[in-house]
Symmetry: C2
Subunit: 326 residues, 2 copies
Protein backbone atom coordinates (compact mmCIF):
# COMPACT_ATOMS: atom_id res chain seq x y z
CA UNK A 1 0.00 0.00 0.00
CA UNK A 2 1.07 3.56 -0.58
CA UNK A 3 -0.09 4.18 2.92
CA UNK A 4 2.42 4.23 5.75
CA UNK A 5 2.36 0.93 7.59
CA UNK A 6 1.54 0.63 11.26
CA UNK A 7 2.91 -1.97 13.60
CA UNK A 8 0.30 -4.68 14.20
CA UNK A 9 -2.08 -3.55 16.89
CA UNK A 10 -2.20 -6.83 18.77
CA UNK A 11 -5.44 -8.60 19.54
CA UNK A 12 -7.09 -5.85 21.49
CA UNK A 13 -9.33 -3.65 19.44
CA UNK A 14 -10.01 -0.86 19.19
CA UNK A 15 -6.70 0.86 18.61
CA UNK A 16 -5.69 3.93 16.64
CA UNK A 17 -8.39 5.07 14.25
CA UNK A 18 -11.07 2.77 15.70
CA UNK A 19 -10.43 4.04 19.23
CA UNK A 20 -10.50 7.65 18.08
CA UNK A 21 -13.78 7.06 16.25
CA UNK A 22 -15.31 5.57 19.40
CA UNK A 23 -14.19 8.57 21.45
CA UNK A 24 -15.59 10.97 18.88
CA UNK A 25 -18.84 9.03 18.76
CA UNK A 26 -19.29 9.46 22.51
CA UNK A 27 -18.62 13.21 22.28
CA UNK A 28 -21.16 13.55 19.51
CA UNK A 29 -23.81 11.53 21.32
CA UNK A 30 -23.43 13.67 24.43
CA UNK A 31 -24.47 16.69 22.37
CA UNK A 32 -26.87 15.38 19.76
CA UNK A 33 -28.47 12.54 21.71
CA UNK A 34 -28.77 8.84 20.86
CA UNK A 35 -30.31 7.50 17.65
CA UNK A 36 -34.08 6.96 17.68
CA UNK A 37 -35.38 3.39 17.66
CA UNK A 38 -34.88 1.77 14.30
CA UNK A 39 -31.95 3.91 13.26
CA UNK A 40 -28.27 2.96 13.26
CA UNK A 41 -25.70 5.73 13.62
CA UNK A 42 -22.01 4.96 13.29
CA UNK A 43 -20.04 1.84 14.06
CA UNK A 44 -20.90 -0.02 10.87
CA UNK A 45 -20.17 0.31 7.15
CA UNK A 46 -23.08 2.72 6.77
CA UNK A 47 -25.84 4.34 8.81
CA UNK A 48 -29.51 3.33 8.47
CA UNK A 49 -31.97 6.22 8.90
CA UNK A 50 -35.50 7.40 8.19
CA UNK A 51 -35.28 10.91 6.73
CA UNK A 52 -37.98 13.22 7.98
CA UNK A 53 -39.27 10.42 10.24
CA UNK A 54 -40.75 8.73 7.16
CA UNK A 55 -41.16 5.01 6.58
CA UNK A 56 -38.52 4.98 3.92
CA UNK A 57 -35.15 3.69 5.00
CA UNK A 58 -31.95 5.15 3.69
CA UNK A 59 -28.44 3.81 4.00
CA UNK A 60 -25.88 6.61 4.30
CA UNK A 61 -22.10 6.52 4.24
CA UNK A 62 -19.08 8.72 3.59
CA UNK A 63 -15.45 8.01 2.75
CA UNK A 64 -12.58 10.37 2.08
CA UNK A 65 -9.56 9.62 -0.07
CA UNK A 66 -6.43 11.68 0.47
CA UNK A 67 -3.57 11.86 -2.05
CA UNK A 68 -0.39 10.42 -0.59
CA UNK A 69 -2.32 8.59 2.13
CA UNK A 70 -4.85 6.38 0.33
CA UNK A 71 -3.24 6.53 -3.07
CA UNK A 72 0.03 7.59 -4.61
CA UNK A 73 -0.68 9.87 -7.58
CA UNK A 74 2.63 8.85 -9.14
CA UNK A 75 1.18 5.32 -9.43
CA UNK A 76 -2.51 5.84 -10.06
CA UNK A 77 -3.78 8.68 -12.20
CA UNK A 78 -6.39 11.26 -11.23
CA UNK A 79 -9.13 9.30 -13.04
CA UNK A 80 -8.25 6.19 -11.01
CA UNK A 81 -8.28 8.33 -7.87
CA UNK A 82 -11.81 9.51 -8.66
CA UNK A 83 -12.94 5.97 -9.46
CA UNK A 84 -11.55 4.66 -6.18
CA UNK A 85 -13.05 7.45 -4.10
CA UNK A 86 -16.56 6.81 -5.36
CA UNK A 87 -16.23 3.02 -5.43
CA UNK A 88 -15.03 2.72 -1.83
CA UNK A 89 -18.08 4.65 -0.63
CA UNK A 90 -20.43 2.57 -2.80
CA UNK A 91 -18.77 -0.55 -1.40
CA UNK A 92 -20.03 0.44 2.06
CA UNK A 93 -23.58 0.37 0.68
CA UNK A 94 -22.90 -3.08 -0.78
CA UNK A 95 -21.72 -4.22 2.64
CA UNK A 96 -25.16 -3.43 4.12
CA UNK A 97 -26.95 -5.31 1.34
CA UNK A 98 -28.17 -2.01 -0.08
CA UNK A 99 -28.47 -0.39 -3.50
CA UNK A 100 -26.71 2.93 -4.08
CA UNK A 101 -28.83 5.88 -5.16
CA UNK A 102 -26.86 9.14 -5.23
CA UNK A 103 -23.39 10.47 -4.50
CA UNK A 104 -22.16 13.84 -3.27
CA UNK A 105 -18.51 14.72 -3.82
CA UNK A 106 -16.45 17.33 -1.96
CA UNK A 107 -13.05 17.95 -3.52
CA UNK A 108 -10.12 19.86 -2.06
CA UNK A 109 -7.38 20.47 -4.58
CA UNK A 110 -4.19 22.45 -5.09
CA UNK A 111 -4.29 24.91 -8.00
CA UNK A 112 -3.82 23.28 -11.43
CA UNK A 113 -4.94 19.84 -10.31
CA UNK A 114 -6.23 17.54 -13.06
CA UNK A 115 -9.85 17.99 -12.01
CA UNK A 116 -11.34 17.04 -15.38
CA UNK A 117 -9.60 13.65 -15.28
CA UNK A 118 -10.69 13.22 -11.67
CA UNK A 119 -14.27 13.93 -12.78
CA UNK A 120 -13.92 11.36 -15.57
CA UNK A 121 -13.06 8.65 -13.04
CA UNK A 122 -15.87 9.73 -10.73
CA UNK A 123 -18.30 9.68 -13.65
CA UNK A 124 -17.14 6.27 -14.86
CA UNK A 125 -17.64 4.81 -11.40
CA UNK A 126 -21.00 6.60 -11.04
CA UNK A 127 -22.06 4.97 -14.28
CA UNK A 128 -20.70 1.55 -13.32
CA UNK A 129 -22.53 1.48 -9.99
CA UNK A 130 -25.64 3.41 -11.10
CA UNK A 131 -24.87 6.01 -8.45
CA UNK A 132 -24.79 9.45 -10.08
CA UNK A 133 -22.93 12.38 -8.58
CA UNK A 134 -25.78 14.82 -7.90
CA UNK A 135 -23.88 17.55 -6.11
CA UNK A 136 -20.47 18.66 -5.03
CA UNK A 137 -18.20 21.22 -3.54
CA UNK A 138 -14.78 22.42 -4.64
CA UNK A 139 -12.18 24.04 -2.39
CA UNK A 140 -8.56 24.96 -2.45
CA UNK A 141 -6.35 22.66 -0.40
CA UNK A 142 -2.63 21.92 -0.18
CA UNK A 143 -3.25 18.21 -0.69
CA UNK A 144 -5.81 16.65 -3.02
CA UNK A 145 -8.71 15.01 -1.23
CA UNK A 146 -12.03 13.62 -2.41
CA UNK A 147 -14.79 13.03 0.16
CA UNK A 148 -17.71 11.04 -1.19
CA UNK A 149 -21.06 10.62 0.57
CA UNK A 150 -23.50 8.06 -0.81
CA UNK A 151 -27.19 7.45 -0.19
CA UNK A 152 -28.62 4.00 -0.73
CA UNK A 153 -31.85 2.10 -0.34
CA UNK A 154 -32.76 -1.35 0.97
CA UNK A 155 -34.98 -3.51 -1.20
CA UNK A 156 -37.94 -5.19 0.46
CA UNK A 157 -38.69 -5.34 4.14
CA UNK A 158 -35.79 -6.98 5.97
CA UNK A 159 -33.12 -5.13 7.92
CA UNK A 160 -29.71 -4.13 6.63
CA UNK A 161 -26.92 -6.63 7.26
CA UNK A 162 -24.77 -5.26 10.07
CA UNK A 163 -21.38 -6.26 11.40
CA UNK A 164 -22.92 -7.19 14.70
CA UNK A 165 -25.39 -9.93 13.75
CA UNK A 166 -23.11 -12.97 13.52
CA UNK A 167 -23.46 -15.91 15.92
CA UNK A 168 -21.23 -18.79 16.92
CA UNK A 169 -21.41 -21.52 14.31
CA UNK A 170 -22.01 -19.17 11.38
CA UNK A 171 -19.95 -19.97 8.31
CA UNK A 172 -17.55 -17.27 7.13
CA UNK A 173 -17.25 -16.43 3.44
CA UNK A 174 -15.47 -13.92 1.26
CA UNK A 175 -16.71 -12.99 -2.20
CA UNK A 176 -13.31 -13.44 -3.84
CA UNK A 177 -9.60 -14.05 -3.30
CA UNK A 178 -7.69 -11.32 -1.51
CA UNK A 179 -4.46 -9.39 -1.86
CA UNK A 180 -4.77 -8.38 -5.52
CA UNK A 181 -4.88 -4.66 -4.76
CA UNK A 182 -1.77 -4.77 -2.57
CA UNK A 183 0.02 -6.92 -5.14
CA UNK A 184 -1.02 -4.46 -7.84
CA UNK A 185 0.46 -1.64 -5.84
CA UNK A 186 3.69 -3.61 -5.50
CA UNK A 187 3.81 -4.15 -9.26
CA UNK A 188 3.01 -0.51 -10.06
CA UNK A 189 5.72 0.64 -7.66
CA UNK A 190 8.28 -1.72 -9.17
CA UNK A 191 7.44 -0.53 -12.69
CA UNK A 192 7.74 3.10 -11.70
CA UNK A 193 11.12 2.35 -10.18
CA UNK A 194 12.33 0.87 -13.48
CA UNK A 195 11.99 -2.83 -12.72
CA UNK A 196 10.56 -5.14 -15.37
CA UNK A 197 7.54 -7.05 -14.11
CA UNK A 198 5.61 -9.40 -16.38
CA UNK A 199 1.94 -10.31 -16.75
CA UNK A 200 0.30 -8.29 -14.07
CA UNK A 201 -2.49 -6.34 -15.72
CA UNK A 202 -5.15 -7.91 -13.52
CA UNK A 203 -3.25 -6.96 -10.39
CA UNK A 204 -2.71 -3.39 -11.54
CA UNK A 205 -6.36 -3.11 -12.41
CA UNK A 206 -7.36 -4.45 -8.99
CA UNK A 207 -5.41 -1.60 -7.42
CA UNK A 208 -6.44 1.15 -9.80
CA UNK A 209 -10.08 0.18 -10.39
CA UNK A 210 -11.51 -1.81 -7.47
CA UNK A 211 -15.10 -3.03 -7.78
CA UNK A 212 -18.04 -2.71 -5.41
CA UNK A 213 -19.71 -6.09 -4.80
CA UNK A 214 -23.26 -4.78 -5.03
CA UNK A 215 -24.97 -7.86 -6.47
CA UNK A 216 -23.12 -10.05 -3.98
CA UNK A 217 -24.20 -7.88 -1.05
CA UNK A 218 -27.84 -7.81 -2.10
CA UNK A 219 -27.83 -11.55 -2.75
CA UNK A 220 -26.24 -12.31 0.62
CA UNK A 221 -28.82 -10.15 2.40
CA UNK A 222 -31.67 -11.88 0.56
CA UNK A 223 -30.14 -15.28 1.42
CA UNK A 224 -30.18 -14.61 5.15
CA UNK A 225 -26.62 -13.44 5.80
CA UNK A 226 -26.37 -12.47 9.47
CA UNK A 227 -23.34 -10.18 9.33
CA UNK A 228 -21.40 -8.51 6.55
CA UNK A 229 -18.75 -5.90 5.91
CA UNK A 230 -16.43 -4.93 3.09
CA UNK A 231 -12.74 -5.72 3.41
CA UNK A 232 -11.17 -2.30 3.05
CA UNK A 233 -8.34 -2.47 5.59
CA UNK A 234 -7.31 -6.12 5.20
CA UNK A 235 -8.98 -9.37 6.28
CA UNK A 236 -6.63 -9.53 9.30
CA UNK A 237 -8.09 -6.34 10.73
CA UNK A 238 -11.62 -6.34 9.34
CA UNK A 239 -12.36 -9.89 10.54
CA UNK A 240 -11.40 -8.81 14.06
CA UNK A 241 -13.80 -5.90 13.69
CA UNK A 242 -16.70 -8.11 12.63
CA UNK A 243 -15.96 -10.64 15.38
CA UNK A 244 -15.74 -7.90 17.99
CA UNK A 245 -18.99 -6.26 16.85
CA UNK A 246 -20.75 -9.65 17.00
CA UNK A 247 -19.01 -10.74 20.25
CA UNK A 248 -17.75 -13.97 18.71
CA UNK A 249 -14.40 -15.60 17.97
CA UNK A 250 -13.26 -17.14 14.70
CA UNK A 251 -11.31 -20.01 13.25
CA UNK A 252 -10.07 -19.42 9.73
CA UNK A 253 -9.39 -22.56 7.72
CA UNK A 254 -7.70 -20.74 4.89
CA UNK A 255 -6.98 -17.36 3.40
CA UNK A 256 -7.82 -17.29 -0.31
CA UNK A 257 -4.90 -15.54 -1.98
CA UNK A 258 -5.38 -13.85 -5.35
CA UNK A 259 -3.12 -15.12 -8.14
CA UNK A 260 0.15 -13.21 -8.02
CA UNK A 261 -0.38 -11.97 -4.46
CA UNK A 262 1.21 -13.17 -1.22
CA UNK A 263 -0.58 -14.37 1.89
CA UNK A 264 0.66 -11.27 3.73
CA UNK A 265 -0.92 -9.11 1.05
CA UNK A 266 -4.16 -11.09 1.31
CA UNK A 267 -4.29 -10.69 5.09
CA UNK A 268 -2.97 -7.17 5.55
CA UNK A 269 -3.01 -5.36 2.25
CA UNK A 270 -6.53 -4.04 2.25
CA UNK A 271 -8.44 -2.24 -0.51
CA UNK A 272 -9.77 -5.44 -2.05
CA UNK A 273 -13.40 -4.48 -1.26
CA UNK A 274 -14.52 -8.10 -1.34
CA UNK A 275 -17.32 -8.74 1.15
CA UNK A 276 -16.85 -10.73 4.34
CA UNK A 277 -20.07 -12.61 5.08
CA UNK A 278 -21.30 -14.60 8.08
CA UNK A 279 -24.13 -16.97 7.13
CA UNK A 280 -26.03 -19.46 9.27
CA UNK A 281 -26.85 -21.62 6.27
CA UNK A 282 -23.87 -21.98 3.97
CA UNK A 283 -25.77 -24.04 1.39
CA UNK A 284 -28.42 -21.33 1.02
CA UNK A 285 -25.79 -18.65 0.42
CA UNK A 286 -23.98 -20.75 -2.18
CA UNK A 287 -27.24 -21.55 -3.97
CA UNK A 288 -28.32 -17.91 -3.98
CA UNK A 289 -24.99 -16.86 -5.51
CA UNK A 290 -25.31 -19.60 -8.13
CA UNK A 291 -28.89 -18.56 -8.98
CA UNK A 292 -27.74 -14.98 -9.38
CA UNK A 293 -24.87 -16.21 -11.60
CA UNK A 294 -22.32 -14.72 -9.26
CA UNK A 295 -18.85 -16.10 -8.65
CA UNK A 296 -19.22 -18.71 -5.87
CA UNK A 297 -18.46 -17.34 -2.41
CA UNK A 298 -15.34 -18.79 -0.81
CA UNK A 299 -15.79 -20.42 2.56
CA UNK A 300 -12.87 -19.43 4.78
CA UNK A 301 -13.85 -20.51 8.29
CA UNK A 302 -16.32 -20.50 11.13
CA UNK A 303 -17.33 -18.15 13.92
CA UNK A 304 -16.95 -19.52 17.43
CA UNK A 305 -18.33 -18.87 20.89
CA UNK A 306 -15.07 -17.85 22.56
CA UNK A 307 -14.64 -14.21 21.61
CA UNK A 308 -10.94 -14.41 22.48
CA UNK A 309 -10.41 -17.14 19.89
CA UNK A 310 -8.76 -15.64 16.81
CA UNK A 311 -7.21 -18.50 14.86
CA UNK A 312 -5.86 -19.12 11.42
CA UNK A 313 -5.48 -22.90 11.43
CA UNK A 314 -3.47 -23.61 14.55
CA UNK A 315 -1.91 -20.15 14.98
CA UNK A 316 -3.28 -17.00 16.56
CA UNK A 317 -4.14 -14.25 14.07
CA UNK A 318 -3.34 -10.77 15.32
CA UNK A 319 -5.34 -7.74 14.25
CA UNK A 320 -3.17 -6.68 11.34
CA UNK A 321 -4.16 -4.17 8.74
CA UNK A 322 -4.33 -0.54 7.95
CA UNK A 323 -5.21 2.05 10.59
CA UNK A 324 -4.84 5.78 10.24
CA UNK A 325 -2.61 7.64 12.69
CA UNK A 326 -5.24 9.95 14.14
Amino acid sequence: MARPKRPPGGDRLPTGEDATLERIGRRLEARQGPPPTGELWGGDDAAVVHPGRSDQRLVLTTDAMVAGVHADLSLVGPADFGWKALTTAVSDIAAMGGTPAQALVAVGAPPASALEELADGLGEAANAWACPVVGGDLSEADQLFVAVAVTGTLEGEGPAVLRSGARPGDALFVTGPLGASAAGLRVLTARRDGQRVAGSEDLERAHRRPEARLAEGRTARAAGARAMMDISDGLGLDLHRLARASAVGFVLDEVPVAEGATEAEALGGGEDYELLIAAPDDGRLEEAFASARLRPPLRIGTLTKDRREHRLGSVTLSATGYQHRV
Copy 2:
Protein backbone atom coordinates in the same frame (compact mmCIF):
# COMPACT_ATOMS: atom_id res chain seq x y z
CA MET B 1 -11.59 36.62 5.65
CA ALA B 2 -8.74 34.30 6.41
CA ARG B 3 -9.04 33.21 2.83
CA PRO B 4 -6.69 34.63 0.24
CA LYS B 5 -8.43 37.36 -1.70
CA ARG B 6 -8.94 37.26 -5.43
CA PRO B 7 -9.10 40.28 -7.67
CA PRO B 8 -12.73 41.03 -8.59
CA GLY B 9 -13.78 38.83 -11.47
CA GLY B 10 -15.60 41.51 -13.45
CA ASP B 11 -19.19 41.13 -14.52
CA ARG B 12 -18.81 37.99 -16.56
CA LEU B 13 -19.60 34.87 -14.66
CA PRO B 14 -18.64 32.14 -14.39
CA THR B 15 -15.02 32.60 -13.46
CA GLY B 16 -12.64 30.58 -11.32
CA GLU B 17 -14.40 28.05 -9.17
CA ASP B 18 -17.78 28.49 -10.89
CA ALA B 19 -16.24 27.91 -14.32
CA THR B 20 -14.37 24.84 -13.09
CA LEU B 21 -17.55 23.43 -11.56
CA GLU B 22 -19.38 23.88 -14.86
CA ARG B 23 -16.58 22.10 -16.74
CA ILE B 24 -16.60 19.25 -14.22
CA GLY B 25 -20.37 19.01 -14.43
CA ARG B 26 -20.18 18.52 -18.19
CA ARG B 27 -17.53 15.79 -17.81
CA LEU B 28 -19.67 14.00 -15.26
CA GLU B 29 -22.83 14.24 -17.34
CA ALA B 30 -21.05 12.78 -20.37
CA ARG B 31 -20.36 9.63 -18.32
CA GLN B 32 -23.30 9.29 -15.96
CA GLY B 33 -26.06 10.78 -18.11
CA PRO B 34 -28.45 13.65 -17.37
CA PRO B 35 -30.75 13.81 -14.34
CA PRO B 36 -34.15 12.13 -14.71
CA THR B 37 -37.23 14.34 -14.90
CA GLY B 38 -38.03 15.87 -11.55
CA GLU B 39 -34.49 15.72 -10.20
CA LEU B 40 -32.01 18.57 -9.91
CA TRP B 41 -28.30 17.76 -9.99
CA GLY B 42 -25.73 20.46 -9.37
CA GLY B 43 -25.81 24.18 -10.04
CA ASP B 44 -27.84 25.13 -6.98
CA ASP B 45 -27.36 25.17 -3.21
CA ALA B 46 -28.43 21.52 -3.01
CA ALA B 47 -29.63 18.68 -5.24
CA VAL B 48 -33.22 17.46 -5.25
CA VAL B 49 -33.59 13.70 -5.82
CA HIS B 50 -35.89 10.71 -5.38
CA PRO B 51 -33.85 7.90 -3.81
CA GLY B 52 -34.68 4.50 -5.24
CA ARG B 53 -37.12 6.16 -7.65
CA SER B 54 -39.53 6.63 -4.76
CA ASP B 55 -42.04 9.44 -4.31
CA GLN B 56 -40.10 10.89 -1.44
CA ARG B 57 -37.95 13.88 -2.27
CA LEU B 58 -34.62 14.44 -0.65
CA VAL B 59 -32.47 17.54 -0.69
CA LEU B 60 -28.76 16.67 -0.70
CA THR B 61 -25.71 18.88 -0.32
CA THR B 62 -22.05 18.74 0.64
CA ASP B 63 -19.53 21.34 1.78
CA ALA B 64 -15.91 21.00 2.75
CA MET B 65 -14.04 23.26 5.13
CA VAL B 66 -10.24 23.35 4.91
CA ALA B 67 -8.03 24.74 7.67
CA GLY B 68 -6.09 27.76 6.47
CA VAL B 69 -8.47 28.26 3.53
CA HIS B 70 -11.94 28.60 5.05
CA ALA B 71 -10.83 29.30 8.59
CA ASP B 72 -7.68 30.23 10.44
CA LEU B 73 -7.23 27.87 13.39
CA SER B 74 -5.22 30.54 15.21
CA LEU B 75 -8.43 32.62 15.27
CA VAL B 76 -11.22 30.11 15.59
CA GLY B 77 -10.86 26.99 17.68
CA PRO B 78 -11.46 23.41 16.56
CA ALA B 79 -14.96 23.43 18.06
CA ASP B 80 -15.82 26.55 16.04
CA PHE B 81 -14.37 24.86 12.98
CA GLY B 82 -16.66 21.87 13.50
CA TRP B 83 -19.66 24.14 14.09
CA LYS B 84 -18.99 26.10 10.92
CA ALA B 85 -18.46 23.00 8.79
CA LEU B 86 -21.81 21.51 9.73
CA THR B 87 -23.68 24.82 9.72
CA THR B 88 -22.56 25.85 6.24
CA ALA B 89 -23.87 22.56 4.83
CA VAL B 90 -27.16 22.90 6.74
CA SER B 91 -27.43 26.45 5.40
CA ASP B 92 -27.61 25.01 1.88
CA ILE B 93 -30.68 23.02 2.94
CA ALA B 94 -32.19 26.23 4.37
CA ALA B 95 -31.58 27.91 1.02
CA MET B 96 -33.84 25.37 -0.72
CA GLY B 97 -36.60 25.83 1.85
CA GLY B 98 -35.87 22.39 3.25
CA THR B 99 -35.50 20.78 6.66
CA PRO B 100 -32.22 19.03 7.48
CA ALA B 101 -32.41 15.37 8.47
CA GLN B 102 -28.95 13.78 8.79
CA ALA B 103 -25.29 14.66 8.39
CA LEU B 104 -22.27 12.60 7.35
CA VAL B 105 -18.83 13.92 8.24
CA ALA B 106 -15.51 12.97 6.62
CA VAL B 107 -12.50 14.33 8.48
CA GLY B 108 -8.89 14.43 7.34
CA ALA B 109 -6.51 15.42 10.10
CA PRO B 110 -2.82 15.57 10.92
CA PRO B 111 -1.76 13.39 13.87
CA ALA B 112 -2.58 14.91 17.28
CA SER B 113 -5.35 17.16 15.99
CA ALA B 114 -7.94 18.27 18.56
CA LEU B 115 -10.57 15.88 17.21
CA GLU B 116 -12.62 15.74 20.41
CA GLU B 117 -13.09 19.51 20.37
CA LEU B 118 -13.91 19.34 16.68
CA ALA B 119 -16.55 16.72 17.50
CA ASP B 120 -17.94 18.98 20.23
CA GLY B 121 -18.56 21.76 17.73
CA LEU B 122 -20.06 19.34 15.21
CA GLY B 123 -22.34 17.94 17.90
CA GLU B 124 -23.42 21.38 19.12
CA ALA B 125 -24.35 22.39 15.58
CA ALA B 126 -26.07 19.04 15.00
CA ASN B 127 -28.14 19.69 18.09
CA ALA B 128 -28.87 23.32 17.16
CA TRP B 129 -30.13 22.42 13.67
CA ALA B 130 -31.69 19.04 14.58
CA CYS B 131 -29.37 17.41 12.08
CA PRO B 132 -27.49 14.56 13.80
CA VAL B 133 -24.18 13.24 12.53
CA VAL B 134 -25.09 9.63 11.68
CA GLY B 135 -21.84 8.49 10.14
CA GLY B 136 -18.32 9.52 9.38
CA ASP B 137 -14.88 8.74 8.16
CA LEU B 138 -11.49 9.63 9.57
CA SER B 139 -8.26 9.83 7.59
CA GLU B 140 -4.76 11.12 7.98
CA ALA B 141 -4.08 14.31 6.08
CA ASP B 142 -1.42 17.02 6.16
CA GLN B 143 -4.06 19.72 6.52
CA LEU B 144 -7.24 19.50 8.58
CA PHE B 145 -10.40 19.27 6.50
CA VAL B 146 -14.01 18.52 7.37
CA ALA B 147 -16.38 17.51 4.56
CA VAL B 148 -20.03 17.47 5.60
CA ALA B 149 -22.85 15.99 3.55
CA VAL B 150 -26.42 16.68 4.64
CA THR B 151 -29.75 15.13 3.67
CA GLY B 152 -32.91 17.15 4.00
CA THR B 153 -36.60 16.91 3.29
CA LEU B 154 -39.18 19.28 1.83
CA GLU B 155 -42.40 19.76 3.75
CA GLY B 156 -45.65 19.53 1.80
CA GLU B 157 -46.03 19.33 -1.95
CA GLY B 158 -44.42 22.36 -3.56
CA PRO B 159 -41.02 22.39 -5.22
CA ALA B 160 -37.75 23.43 -3.63
CA VAL B 161 -36.82 27.10 -4.08
CA LEU B 162 -34.03 27.26 -6.67
CA ARG B 163 -31.70 30.04 -7.72
CA SER B 164 -33.21 30.02 -11.18
CA GLY B 165 -36.86 30.85 -10.51
CA ALA B 166 -36.73 34.64 -10.14
CA ARG B 167 -38.46 36.93 -12.65
CA PRO B 168 -38.18 40.61 -13.53
CA GLY B 169 -40.08 42.68 -11.03
CA ASP B 170 -39.50 40.34 -8.09
CA ALA B 171 -38.52 42.07 -4.88
CA LEU B 172 -35.12 41.16 -3.42
CA PHE B 173 -34.72 40.53 0.30
CA VAL B 174 -32.03 39.42 2.69
CA THR B 175 -32.82 37.86 6.06
CA GLY B 176 -30.42 40.10 7.96
CA PRO B 177 -27.68 42.70 7.73
CA LEU B 178 -24.41 41.58 6.17
CA GLY B 179 -20.69 41.80 6.86
CA ALA B 180 -20.69 40.70 10.50
CA SER B 181 -18.62 37.58 9.83
CA ALA B 182 -15.95 39.48 7.91
CA ALA B 183 -15.91 42.19 10.59
CA GLY B 184 -15.61 39.51 13.24
CA LEU B 185 -12.63 38.07 11.44
CA ARG B 186 -11.07 41.53 11.33
CA VAL B 187 -11.61 41.93 15.07
CA LEU B 188 -10.27 38.46 15.90
CA THR B 189 -7.19 39.10 13.77
CA ALA B 190 -6.54 42.45 15.44
CA ARG B 191 -6.88 40.89 18.92
CA ARG B 192 -4.50 38.07 18.03
CA ASP B 193 -2.01 40.67 16.82
CA GLY B 194 -2.14 42.48 20.16
CA GLN B 195 -4.46 45.35 19.30
CA ARG B 196 -7.15 46.37 21.76
CA VAL B 197 -10.60 46.26 20.19
CA ALA B 198 -13.70 47.06 22.21
CA GLY B 199 -17.25 45.75 22.25
CA SER B 200 -17.23 43.24 19.45
CA GLU B 201 -18.58 40.02 20.91
CA ASP B 202 -21.46 39.88 18.45
CA LEU B 203 -19.09 40.25 15.52
CA GLU B 204 -16.74 37.57 16.82
CA ARG B 205 -19.63 35.26 17.37
CA ALA B 206 -20.91 35.90 13.83
CA HIS B 207 -17.57 34.69 12.52
CA ARG B 208 -17.07 31.76 14.87
CA ARG B 209 -20.66 30.50 15.11
CA PRO B 210 -22.71 31.41 12.04
CA GLU B 211 -26.36 30.38 12.01
CA ALA B 212 -28.40 28.53 9.40
CA ARG B 213 -31.62 30.39 8.56
CA LEU B 214 -33.83 27.31 8.53
CA ALA B 215 -37.09 28.85 9.73
CA GLU B 216 -36.58 31.76 7.35
CA GLY B 217 -36.00 29.44 4.39
CA ARG B 218 -39.04 27.31 5.13
CA THR B 219 -41.20 30.38 5.67
CA ALA B 220 -40.02 32.00 2.44
CA ARG B 221 -40.79 28.81 0.50
CA ALA B 222 -44.27 28.58 2.03
CA ALA B 223 -44.84 32.26 1.21
CA GLY B 224 -44.17 31.78 -2.48
CA ALA B 225 -40.53 32.86 -2.78
CA ARG B 226 -39.48 32.28 -6.38
CA ALA B 227 -35.69 32.10 -5.94
CA MET B 228 -33.40 31.75 -2.95
CA MET B 229 -29.79 31.07 -2.01
CA ASP B 230 -27.60 31.50 1.01
CA ILE B 231 -24.99 34.24 0.98
CA SER B 232 -21.80 32.31 1.56
CA ASP B 233 -19.35 34.12 -0.71
CA GLY B 234 -20.60 37.68 -0.33
CA LEU B 235 -23.70 39.46 -1.66
CA GLY B 236 -21.59 41.00 -4.42
CA LEU B 237 -20.87 37.57 -5.90
CA ASP B 238 -23.90 35.55 -4.84
CA LEU B 239 -26.41 38.08 -6.18
CA HIS B 240 -24.72 37.84 -9.57
CA ARG B 241 -25.07 34.06 -9.33
CA LEU B 242 -28.79 34.23 -8.58
CA ALA B 243 -29.37 36.81 -11.33
CA ARG B 244 -27.42 34.73 -13.85
CA ALA B 245 -29.28 31.52 -12.93
CA SER B 246 -32.60 33.34 -13.33
CA ALA B 247 -31.51 35.29 -16.44
CA VAL B 248 -32.44 38.63 -14.90
CA GLY B 249 -30.68 41.83 -13.91
CA PHE B 250 -30.87 43.66 -10.60
CA VAL B 251 -31.02 47.10 -9.06
CA LEU B 252 -29.96 47.24 -5.42
CA ASP B 253 -31.36 50.16 -3.44
CA GLU B 254 -29.19 49.53 -0.43
CA VAL B 255 -26.81 47.09 1.20
CA PRO B 256 -27.78 46.46 4.83
CA VAL B 257 -24.54 46.62 6.77
CA ALA B 258 -24.26 44.87 10.14
CA GLU B 259 -23.37 47.12 13.08
CA GLY B 260 -19.60 47.39 13.28
CA ALA B 261 -19.03 46.16 9.74
CA THR B 262 -18.13 48.13 6.62
CA GLU B 263 -19.99 48.19 3.32
CA ALA B 264 -17.07 46.38 1.69
CA GLU B 265 -17.39 43.63 4.28
CA ALA B 266 -21.14 43.45 3.68
CA LEU B 267 -20.69 43.17 -0.08
CA GLY B 268 -17.59 41.03 -0.33
CA GLY B 269 -16.89 39.39 2.99
CA GLY B 270 -19.05 36.34 2.73
CA GLU B 271 -19.82 33.70 5.35
CA ASP B 272 -22.86 35.54 6.69
CA TYR B 273 -25.22 32.73 5.62
CA GLU B 274 -28.19 35.08 5.51
CA LEU B 275 -30.64 34.09 2.79
CA LEU B 276 -31.10 36.08 -0.42
CA ILE B 277 -34.75 35.83 -1.48
CA ALA B 278 -36.62 36.88 -4.62
CA ALA B 279 -40.35 37.20 -3.97
CA PRO B 280 -43.14 38.25 -6.35
CA ASP B 281 -45.29 39.49 -3.48
CA ASP B 282 -43.24 41.41 -0.94
CA GLY B 283 -46.18 41.95 1.42
CA ARG B 284 -46.88 38.23 1.61
CA LEU B 285 -43.25 37.48 2.51
CA GLU B 286 -43.17 40.16 5.19
CA GLU B 287 -46.46 38.93 6.68
CA ALA B 288 -45.29 35.33 6.70
CA PHE B 289 -42.11 36.29 8.53
CA ALA B 290 -44.14 38.32 11.04
CA SER B 291 -46.57 35.41 11.62
CA ALA B 292 -43.63 33.08 12.21
CA ARG B 293 -42.16 35.66 14.62
CA LEU B 294 -39.03 35.94 12.55
CA ARG B 295 -36.90 39.04 12.21
CA PRO B 296 -38.43 41.06 9.34
CA PRO B 297 -36.74 40.45 5.99
CA LEU B 298 -34.85 43.45 4.62
CA ARG B 299 -35.85 44.63 1.19
CA ILE B 300 -32.71 45.53 -0.75
CA GLY B 301 -33.81 45.95 -4.35
CA THR B 302 -35.61 44.64 -7.39
CA LEU B 303 -34.87 42.21 -10.19
CA THR B 304 -35.01 43.62 -13.70
CA LYS B 305 -35.48 42.41 -17.24
CA ASP B 306 -32.08 43.44 -18.60
CA ARG B 307 -29.76 40.65 -17.52
CA ARG B 308 -26.75 42.91 -18.08
CA GLU B 309 -28.09 45.40 -15.51
CA HIS B 310 -26.14 45.02 -12.26
CA ARG B 311 -26.65 48.19 -10.29
CA LEU B 312 -26.18 49.40 -6.74
CA GLY B 313 -28.01 52.72 -6.82
CA SER B 314 -26.49 54.53 -9.77
CA VAL B 315 -23.21 52.56 -9.98
CA THR B 316 -22.42 49.23 -11.57
CA LEU B 317 -21.80 46.41 -9.10
CA SER B 318 -19.07 44.03 -10.19
CA ALA B 319 -19.09 40.37 -9.23
CA THR B 320 -16.98 40.66 -6.12
CA GLY B 321 -16.59 37.95 -3.55
CA TYR B 322 -14.76 34.83 -2.69
CA GLN B 323 -13.81 32.28 -5.33
CA HIS B 324 -11.43 29.39 -4.84
CA ARG B 325 -8.34 29.18 -7.03
CA VAL B 326 -9.07 25.86 -8.65
